[in-house]
């Protein structure tokens, strides 16, 4: 999860994402941050995350992001 935490910290360095179970519920990310995160993940892993997958539920914590990216073929220890 280290790489995902790094990407999140670039977007919002002031928050402890590793300690949160729901980034949106906790107010760490908003809709602009969500789109920024999607773009960062696409760039890092050469994916094209579909429009239907760009919902807060898929990006609300580290495990959900890991599961989503696995679905796009990202098998590395992210």
């Amino acid at each position: 999860m280290k790489k995902i935490i790094e990407l999140l910290a670039e977007i919002r360095p002031e928050y402890d994402f590793a300690g949160s179970n729901d980034f949106f519920e906790d107010g760490y990310l908003d809709s602009f941050d969500l789109i920024t995160l999607v773009a960062a993940l696409d760039k890092e892993y050469h994916t094209k995350i579909k429009g239907t997958d760009i919902v807060p539920e898929h990006f609300c914590n580290l495990e959900e992001i890991r599961k989503l990216m696995k679905g796009y073929g990202v098998e590395d220890d992210i």
Binding site: F32, L34, G51
Partner: protein, 268 residues
């Protein structure tokens, strides 16, 4: 151009555009819930030019425009198609981190748009909340909706500050998002704050000009900040040229956040 009838059309458009390139340019940061409300009011239209999708949100006499593009050159070359698709006035928001160059904005300027305004996002940064117990602050009721609407239209620029319509105001009132101070039935001041989980977004904070410099606005803000002390972020968008408002927010404990919003308009 066609009417959008289902949110899935927007999601499919995003997917299709992303398949066409390796980059991603968009100003569409709208939550599904908000988009679905706009769709239900038949406010959203979609226009596709080459590999770029534009979404128009119809307002009274202009449209707000959102875009999806998977290459910068594609976006630039589609702007002419955008201008040819309609004869109405257009307004486009371009959000970015403060300090970054706005290449997309420059493309709209070259196409004939004017940069109408820059808005700065500010965030509440004070660690101590003053406790408040003002007994002259109330939730707005539906009878206040027209007064709120009139004050907004007299103070804000419809083209670049996304002034809500009467239905949205009534909806916010029923959701207890608007606090007011009144003198009998006269609206003295109001503050509209929208909670999205732990993010509190100040939509508008306004005092009737006849009642300014008498602390009514400050009372409202202190009360609302105190009532939202559980929020992780309290945010507001302020025009860069509204020095009076910026000073008021700074006095309340707000500082500049990382985002700016440049609004480009083509007035026809």
């Amino acid at each position: 151009m066609r009417l959008i009838e289902d949110i899935q059309e927007i999601k499919d458009a995003i997917t299709q555009v992303k398949e066409l390139g390796d980059e991603w340019y968009t100003n569409y940061y709208i939550s599904d819930g908000v988009a679905e409300v706009w769709i239900s009011k038949q406010q959203l239209m979609m226009y596709r030019h080459k590999n770029v999708v534009f979404i128009f949100r119809k307002r009274n006499n202009f449209s707000l425009v959102y875009y999806f593009a998977s290459s910068f050159d594609g976006l630039v070359s589609s702007i002419k198609g955008l201008l040819d698709s309609t004869t109405e006035t257009l307004s486009i928001d371009v959000l970015q981190r403060n300090g970054t160059e706005c290449t997309v904005g420059n493309a709209f300027l070259k196409a004939g748009f004017d940069k109408r305004v820059r808005l700065h996002r500010m965030k509440f940064d004070a660690k101590i909340y003053e406790s408040c117990n003002f007994d002259d602050i109330y939730y707005a009721d539906v009878d206040d909706a027209e007064s709120v609407y009139d004050m907004l239209h007299s103070e804000f620029d419809e083209l670049c500050e996304q002034i809500p319509d009467l239905d949205e105001i009534k909806n916010a009132i029923s959701n207890k998002e608007i606090m007011v101070i009144k003198d009998n039935s006269m609206l003295i001041a109001f503050l509209w704050i929208e909670r999205i989980r732990k993010i509190a977004m100040i939509r508008y904070w306004l005092t009737n000009p006849e009642y300014r410099s008498r602390n009514f606005g400050a009372k409202l803000m202190k009360y609302v900040l105190s009532a939202n002390k559980d929020a992780t972020q309290v945010l507001v968008w302020v025009r860069e040229d509204n020095i009076r408002a910026i000073k008021k927010y700074e006095k309340m404990g707000f500082i500049n956040d990382i985002l700016v919003d440049d609004v480009y308009c083509l007035v026809r």
